[in-house]
Symmetry: C2
Subunit: 168 residues, 2 copies
Amino acid sequence: MAQPATNVALSHCAHDHEACITDALARADTVCRQQGLRLTAIRRRVLELIWANHQPTKAYDLLAQINAKRGNAAPPTVYRALDFLLEAGLIHKIESQNAFIGCAVDHERNQPKFFICRECGRAAEIQSSQIDDVIASEAQEAGFVVDHQTIEVDGLCAACAGAESTNS
Amino acid sequence: MAQPATNVALSHCAHDHEACITDALARADTVCRQQGLRLTAIRRRVLELIWANHQPTKAYDLLAQINAKRGNAAPPTVYRALDFLLEAGLIHKIESQNAFIGCAVDHERNQPKFFICRECGRAAEIQSSQIDDVIASEAQEAGFVVDHQTIEVDGLCAACAGAESTNS
DNA sequence: CTAATAGCGTTATCATATAACATCAAGGAG
DNA sequence: CTCCTTGATGTTATATGATAACGCTATTAG
Ligand SMILES: [Zn+2]
Ligand SMILES: [Zn+2]
Ligand SMILES: [Zn+2]
Ligand SMILES: [Zn+2]
């Protein structure tokens, strides 16, 4: 189950992945400094690994990656870091996969939601607030007070759908 | 973790619960007969327990309920029944709780989605297709081919929100 | 510096889910 | 009816996901 830190799945999506990781860590530093949160070495390392994988990553895979170079960390080490990062809004949990992914989105006006490709495994975070609006109005109608939402849409991303139709 | 089969949480929602269970089982019989599926004794029993609980129920709680009267079933017994029921569309999995709940909804035109109350624990399945429409259009725009969706909105149901504001 | 607190290491254990293989029951072909 | 195939179930073991509890250490407020 443990996976290499490099991300094969991104082959169809060219971008400067090193910068991607660096930027995410820089943002995290800023956010934590502003909010008086402590982004300790372990927490930072876990966040870095999550971004390096660049797709939903399981807690025990992160643990294996941490321990890859002679480490010997135990599960609570990772779960505590994950709890912190979730709390700080720096990552999200993909409930349908028991996996975690980095967040690069401003959530002041819309809640997390994902398109997840079954082929390449990537989870794209959607920013539109249309879905939130509809949910809000449906909730209003039902007298339901929304607290938190889990929206995970599985399917085929554009790149993988294109590849598939080309092959057939 | 194991819970009694009767459902305290439904106290604020008066309805003929026995009929509720009976109807669900009758519908299941019909669906399975029409589709050539075998609703065996165990599968039927698991479905009955899920409806009896009437809120998202965990696999091991179901197992405990099955074994309550001198039984000795093992986990695969329950998980296999759950797999069958999921496949047949007779239940849904609430991913954010690792729990299962009965379905009484026609899904020809809209996918499963839930409002889940943190207070009473009930999960109400929403039927509106507005949310599906918005997701479909967002997906279209992104070139994403939707296969399956997980939509779970947590919060306070009308009854529990009312009770809370009354108390304060 | 000191005390209080937050973070972390470590061990054990709980909770969720599946693999693998043996056995059994139902239904069709001959 | 008998044999055979298939799908369902029983059983044991194990994989995978997550947390409790406790003591030590590092950080920081005063
Ligand atoms: Zn996000
Ligand atoms: Zn893809
Ligand atoms: Zn349903
Ligand atoms: Zn409620």
